[in-house]
């Protein structure tokens, strides 16, 4: 069994990458592999907004990731630089940057690029979904 990490740069609702990534993560766990960390970078961070509201007959990617985090203890890390640029903020970042609200889904956590490198050091494979 392998330890895997995922790097996700795909825009959640414009590209297929996130759909593929979440299926990949679910199936990897079913097959007994461990997901060390899912790292969201570039447009991939947009999925971390709890305000994403796709039509009810389509998959809600934010909630699908969050379910994986809660039920399977998968760590969802969001790059702070990429997130701030795109308006994805938690309470602390909102206060630090004098913004009027926060929108980070609680299943995700804001972190830095060092968490991506650290994930590589502790994983057998890093799989990118762009």
């Amino acid at each position: 069994m392998a330890t895997l990490s995922l790097l996700i740069t795909a825009n959640p609702y414009s590209q297929q990458g996130q759909y593929s990534a979440v299926r990949f993560a679910q199936e990897a766990i079913v097959q007994g592999h461990q997901i060390k960390r899912v790292f969201f970078y570039g447009d991939g961070v947009l999925v971390a907004s709890r305000l994403n509201c796709p039509p009810s007959d389509e998959i809600n990617l934010t909630k699908t990731w969050a379910k994986l985090a809660v039920e399977k203890d998968v760590e969802l890390s969001v790059c702070v630089t990429a997130a701030l640029k795109r308006g994805i903020v938690n309470q602390a970042e909102a206060e630090r940057n004098a913004l009027t609200g926060e929108n980070l889904d609680p299943a995700f956590e804001i972190s830095g690029l060092g968490q991506l490198t650290e994930a590589m050091l502790e994983s057998d494979r890093l799989v990118t979904f762009g």
């Binding site: 740069t9 570039g42 690029l113 650290e118 050091l121």
Partner: protein, 118 residues
């Protein structure tokens, strides 16, 4: 020590993937990892000297490539075939990389634990 190869294969402008990959590269250099950087296909344009994206209000990240050797990254390769297929020669690129035959590029990739492209 784990090894990682970064492949730059897209133009510097039009998308931010070059700059984003460079940021990962510099961060990784702070860790104990063996790093190879490859410029391939349109990625060789990342290394063109004297870029002026500031006229488009775009930050010039190309100069940051000069920092790669300072970060201890010594293996920086330009795909010779990509260079031959471009209108440029090595003198027009930042002086940080050496040209390598496709076979050597292929081997560098095969020897790496991780390969990143954006």
């Amino acid at each position: 020590m784990k090894s990682v190869t970064f492949i730059f294969n897209k133009t510097p402008y039009g998308s931010h993937s070059g700059r984003e990959l460079l940021d990962i590269c510099l961060m990784t250099a702070a860790f104990e990892m063996s790093i190879t950087v490859i410029f391939q296909d349109k990625g060789i344009y990342q290394l063109l000297d004297k870029q002026q994206p500031d006229v488009l209000n775009i930050k010039n990240h190309s100069l940051t490539f000069k920092a790669l050797p300072l970060y201890g990254i010594e293996k920086i390769l330009v795909d010779s075939m990509s260079l031959a297929n471009s209108p440029y020669n090595q003198e027009q690129l930042l002086d940080i990389a050496e040209t390598a035959e496709p076979g050597a590029i292929k081997q560098a990739i095969a020897d790496s634990d991780f390969v990143l492209m954006l």
